[in-house]
Symmetry: C2
């Protein structure tokens, strides 16, 4: 079964908007089991849009469009589809009630031009919009299905997930949807992933593929099946194999984020945290506090940017900061120890290094970052040298700090 | 003159990659003066790709494609264009030398499949790639121009800017490019912008349009002209009018960022800064230290997340933190005063509030943020109540803190 995505809107062709809908729907359609060979973007022009619908219907069994359903005269998606199918537009009282209800929620009284949003292609089923005013439509023609959805993602995505996707599953019962599980790893270079489970990457089913992110590796295990349980069982088998070989690097799966996983571990262990940052400039604290409820375990963060802040507030020895290399393991450990004491926290975490573009020191070029960790009866420091520009080095440094903390909390630092 | 953008790559249709190239090139082509009516995405399939080139050439004077120029067998862009034009592929020694040089820089020795990247459509001019291996190509046919560029943006964008764009300007001398200037404003609601210069938004040329960002408003003034000087003069006239009415809110233009502008003002005035953050959790410090050279003026940041950090480190009065509302003007001012003293800085800046989703207090619901500012002979506090989720409130709070600091440095807080 073939599908095609049609992105509609002159603002897209002007480059004013990044078309995230096209990516989202492509992935969704692939996941449902459709083949997708074309994606087309057209402006709000009724002739060109009519031809785009005709071309898509000639090629695909399912056409999904986004955009051009609003109340203004340049919104012509509905009219174009009616023309392409040789049908009329009909006013739907049911759709109109819903449009009016949505406008009322926003405190607007409906005006004449709003009635346009209740015009449906003759024979269409309308799809309720619980966020915005314009409803969507599902039209069927000679075994093919056409779906019209509004352009704003916060309207389009819930309509797709709640109404359209289940409906498409019913319209196309023979599909073999894609099921997948993502494993997320830190503290392991991609090459070592390749070396350890490279043979799995050749597996035709389930497929196993690595993706490299900022300071982490994601491994996706995926398979297609008309039966979800059967698919999940096949995936679990491969995931178990990967876990048996790389388990100690896996911090989570699918939507998990390192800062949330670390937060849960701190809560579970009843430990509190304080952070002293130099080169990462507050990014570690920002990531930790972006998690709701972080105040349960996060006590304090200090951005000790200059040398003076390091010795005055954190008790770092002046001679360590004034050494030729300026950033070194002693500074990292003293910073972590200092913030731990200052905040009366169980764990102190620190970063110090050179983010660039200028700076650096003998033995510590730009990109060098030390991460320090101090806990009640021990301490640990590691050094990394990162390539890339300032923002990449800062991002990788913050990720390294969180990864070290995760390793400590999840399995200890011995191995 | 019509242009068309062709995005090539099966990974795009799988939804694995967000197609930022299409947006970038759409904007660039519009800016150059082309009309853009279609944008098409096709996978790495030589038949479908050949038909896509044929369709684009039937509709447009200029076709720009990205992707499918690599060394592997699924990269078939070049072959598809040759088929569409009925031409041969020819091996270019000159291109091959460049491919080999690029591979050497990466420490790779060229292998057989790499030779594919030196195959050009007969008659093509090749475009050097200074980042990756695959060169681009410019092909001319019957008054039309076809440009093939690689997919990775960090390769594509420099090739477009340095080589292709000037060449297109020469190929199409009659174009009327778009020139524009963006003004960036903080501390003014969009409604007040509308009220003050709303009449300008009706102006047909130059056009004036407002865009709302996170805690800031951008006003774009734009016009088309074959002569840049003439265009710039028309833009300046309108910009001057806007400046005369809204000048005190304008912190910069075009690529300026609030944290860089604030940094320049601190350097120019020889002032140093320290920041104490509660609800913004380190984001203010992170934004300030994301600017290269921030160590010249940024002394220290403290993320005083819990109440204890506020009274123990910053000297906030315990009774102010323990008041029913917990966040209040007194806490904000004491935090700014405390961090200023602790860091021996000229200026102390603070944030305290409730980012949500839970929390809040009587008189200070979720979304309430106080920003405090203390300098040698004065202090100031302001309160905002923001809608939105945790990350939006944190983002708006950090923006408000930087905006207040900018206002203080740029023009004082009296008016």
């Amino acid at each position: 079964m073939k599908a095609e995505v049609l992105s509609i809107g002159t603002e897209l062709l002007l480059g004013e908007i990044l078309d995230t809908n096209a990516q989202y729907l492509s992935r969704e359609l692939q996941n449902l089991g459709f083949d997708l060979y074309h994606r087309v973007t057209v402006g709000d022009n009724v002739e060109r849009l009519t031809r785009a619908f005709e071309a898509a219907l000639a090629r695909a069994d399912l056409v999904v469009s986004t955009g051009g359903l609003g109340p203004t005269s340049d919104d012509v998606t509905c009219e174009a589809l009616a023309r392409a199918l040789g049908r009329e537009l009909v006013f739907s009282e049911e759709a109109w009630e819903m449009v009016k209800a949505r406008l009322e929620v926003r405190g607007r009284s409906p005006c004449d031009s709003d009635r346009k949003q209740a015009l449906l292609v003759s024979g269409a089923t309308f799809v309720p919009n619980r966020v915005g005013a314009a409803p969507g439509q599902v039209v069927r023609e000679g075994g093919k299905t056409i779906v019209l959805l509004p352009g704003p993602p916060r309207e389009m995505i819930p309509m797709w997930e709640e109404d359209v996707r289940p409906l498409i599953r019913r319209d196309f019962p023979g599909l073999r949807p894609l099921f997948s599980e993502d494993l997320k790893l830190v503290g392991i270079p991609e090459a070592l992933v390749q070396e350890t489970i490279g043979d799995l990457f050749q597996s035709p089913d389930p497929t196993v593929a690595p993706y490299v992110g900022l300071g982490e590796v994601r491994i996706r295990v995926a398979t297609r099946d008309s039966d979800e349980q059967r698919a999940r069982a096949r995936i679990k088998h491969v995931v178990d194999t990967i876990r048996s070989k790389l388990g100690k690097y896996i911090y989570g799966s699918d939507g998990d984020e390192l800062e949330s996983v670390v937060g849960e571990l701190l809560v579970r262990k009843g430990l509190s945290l304080a952070v002293a940052e130099s080169c990462t400039g507050g990014l570690v604290a920002h990531r930790i506090t972006s998690v709701p409820g972080a105040s349960r375990y996060f006590k304090m963060g200090l951005v000790a940017y200059g040398p003076r802040a390091k010795w005055e507030c954190l008790g770092v020895r002046k001679e360590d900061v004034e050494r030729d290399d300026a950033v070194n393991p002693e500074v990292a450990i003293s910073m972590a120890r200092g913030i731990r004491a200052m905040a009366a926290a169980d764990i102190g975490l620190s970063t110090t290094g050179f983010a660039g573009p200028s700076g650096g020191a003998p033995g510590a070029p730009v990109g060098t970052i030390y991460v320090g960790l101090v806990w009640p009866n021990g301490n640990y420091v590691e050094v990394q040298r990162y390539p890339g520009n300032r923002s990449t080095v800062i991002g990788l440094g913050a990720q390294a700090a969180l990864a070290l903390l995760w390793r400590f909390l999840a399995r200890g630092l011995e191995e």
